[in-house]
């Protein structure tokens, strides 16, 4: 994030500091002015259009209302944090007092159980999506490499992959829920069931692009490089590590980026139904709540979902730039 911002500032500086020539003006237009104009037109249309839509929960939220609701959510978060702090201070004082009266007293420490704020829910969502995405990658990359290397395995698994690829998360969810409830039985569970359900649903839906792209990347290695490997008599493990994987990395990352995008989309739906305390649940709860603020707060969440999705994609892109040898590939 910080790097993104500094990058933006750098771009701004290089653009702003140059003397105005025709070319620098054109660059100005492209870098700042045009996106700005687009955004302003969008906000205007939104503002005008929203005011004309009346729902049973009041007028559809325009930009102004959404901004106010955003401030409201920030204030709520700060209030909640203060409460939490106060709670812990009180607890500490109480324990210190009791300890002073009775040196043998064993201090009771309780965790604060306030309701999660909007920002707590963002953290939960990020945590869940990353867990699901990493699990998917851990499965998809090795399997992709294997089916890319071996045509027989590819032929055997391809129909299954094609069958599972287009399944909606909403279809998986009931099954995943029931399986998690049945299998994950523990008195002192490390993870909540709603978290596991959401995570597995994300994994099931987002692993396919990584799998398919890795397989294609592995299968389409330059024949000359394979010949080099043969002439050198590389062992299969060296062959895989030194030749196959590096040459598949650009395709692998294309798959990973697609997968992360899908994971984030799927997560919101999964959280709504699984009641995992993340952004999806936030939207659902506000919808059920049905106050005059609800639509505005949902709109804040919608924009936040979009923004986080964008940032996640940029992070993957930076990772790709860092890891991949193929700098010539067009990164967008």
């Amino acid at each position: 994030m910080a790097r993104l911002i500094t990058l933006g500032v750098k771009q701004l500086k290089t653009v702003a500091l140059q003397p105005l020539t025709k070319e620098s003006l054109a660059r100005w237009m492209k870098a700042i002015l045009l996106p700005l104009i687009g955004s302003v037109i969008f906000l205007l249309l939104w503002h005008i259009g929203a005011a004309r839509v009346n729902t049973s929960l009041g007028v559809f939220p325009g930009p102004v209302i959404v901004y106010q609701q955003w401030q409201g959510l920030v204030a709520e978060h700060q209030r909640e944090r203060k409460k939490e702090q106060a709670f812990y201070e009180r607890q500490e004082k109480r324990n210190a007092k009791k300890l002073a009266q009775d040196p043998n007293y064993v201090a009771k420490v309780r965790t604060y159980t306030g309701k999660p704020t909007f920002f707590d829910q963002i953290i939960t969502s990020l945590y869940t999506v990353l867990a699901g995405f990493i699990l998917a990658s851990v499965i998809a990359i090795p399997v992709g490499i294997i089916i890319g290397l071996n045509k027989a395995v590819y032929s055997a698994l391809n129909p299954i992959i094609q069958l599972f690829k287009p399944i909606s998360p909403l279809a998986w969810l009931p099954l995943v829920t029931m399986v998690v409830s049945a299998v994950y039985v523990s008195k002192d569970p490390m993870f909540s069931k709603s978290f596991l359900t959401s995570m597995f649903t994300v994994t099931l839906c987002c692993m396919w692009p990584t799998l398919v792209n890795t397989a294609v990347g592995v299968a389409t290695i330059d024949k000359d490089l394979l010949n080099v490997s043969k002439v050198l008599r590389l062992k299969w493990i060296t062959h895989t590590v030194k030749i196959v994987i590096p040459s598949a990395i650009p395709m692998m990352f294309t798959g990973l980026r697609l997968s992360l995008g899908i994971a984030w989309m799927v997560l919101i739906a999964a959280e709504m139904l699984a009641q995992n305390p993340g952004l999806g649940k936030f939207v659902w709860d506000e919808f059920q709540n049905g106050s005059s603020n609800s639509l505005g707060r949902i709109m804040v969440a919608v924009l936040m979902i979009g923004f986080i999705g964008f940032v996640l994609d940029r992070i993957m892109l930076m990772l790709q730039r860092h890891v991949s040898w193929d700098k010539s590939v067009i990164l967008r």
């Binding site: 043969k230 002439v231 060296t238």
Partner: protein, 283 residues
């Protein structure tokens, strides 16, 4: 001198939907240690196939190749190949590309320091020490080909196989690399088989030029022994009567003796695909 490498009556067939296609038939050739042999012929005559069989990348349908008394069945570093389009691993630097080969061939036999020295020595041979930490996409085509040669030399092959190594380069770079190759060959006395379609290159570099007939079922047409004293200088040779004579002999083979077949093939093709632009005569 005893025979170092013997290609004995090899033939190869490739399966096609219309039945097997016989690309080579009865190709035989004996090569002595330290000899520089060029294979020349029109494109599509199967000269690369011969090289690939010697490399072990293709298996001959009948006949075989014997190197130092052993039959060749699989590829191996003692028959290092310099590929036409360099085939460097694009994610490794020049140094690392050579290192991969050296580690594979000398791992366990040389100490780390010896290997480092050996890699640097080979890069020095092709004058690439200054760019050893650059990746293939950061250097020019000629430089990539040099690294490819360094990688092959670093395997200390008993036969160096070169598949049109300079075909993709411009004339000046090619001349420069040919000179380097002559220097290196003089120093190391490698046995070299080189595929080329460049008559000047063949005469300048080779001890013998093997001229191949046109396919299908291509075979060795004529063998020309080039008795020019080494070191050879391209400028001095340009007006040398002997050189010009060798050159003419190769050209005669390619454009008079072998042209006819090509021309008939071409006529057949043209009558089949009327109206389509005629293909260029193979160079």
């Amino acid at each position: 001198m005893s025979t170092h490498l013997e290609i004995s009556q090899i033939a190869i067939e490739f399966p096609t939907p219309k039945g097997p296609f016989k690309a080579l038939d009865n190709v035989s050739l004996k090569i002595e240690k330290g000899e520089f042999v060029s294979l020349i012929g029109h494109s599509g005559c199967g000269k690369s196939t011969v090289l690939n069989i010697v490399a072990g990348l293709y298996g001959a349908t009948s006949g075989g190749v014997i190197l130092d008394g052993k039959e060749i069945k699989a590829p191996g570093p003692e028959r290092a190949v310099v590929f036409q389009n360099h085939s460097l691993l694009p994610w490794l630097t020049a140094y690392q590309n050579v290192e991969l080969a050296v580690k594979q061939v000398f791992g366990g036999k040389k100490s780390k320091r010896e290997m480092t020295e050996w890699i640097e020595h080979n890069l020095e041979l092709v004058h690439m020490s200054h760019a050893k930490d650059k990746r293939p996409d950061e250097i020019s085509g000629g430089m990539k080909q040099r690294v490819g040669i360094a990688r092959a030399l670093a395997m200390e092959p008993s036969v160096l196989l070169m598949d049109e190594p300079f075909g993709a380069l411009d004339a000046l770079t090619r001349a420069h690399l040919q000179d380097s190759l002559m220097d290196i060959q003089k120093t190391l006395n490698n046995t070299v088989i080189m595929i080329t379609h460049d008559v000047d290159e063949a005469v300048l570099l080779s001890d013998r030029i093997v001229m191949m007939t046109n396919g299908p079922a291509a075979t060795v047409g004529e063998i020309l022994t080039v008795n020019l004293p080494r070191p050879r200088d391209r400028l001095a040779l340009a007006n040398d009567a002997q050189y010009v004579d060798y050159r003419t002999q190769v050209l005669t083979f390619l454009y008079e003796k072998q042209r006819k077949v090509e021309a008939i093939d071409q006529a057949k093709k043209n009558s089949k695909q009327q109206g389509k632009p005629t293909q260029q005569q193979a160079s």
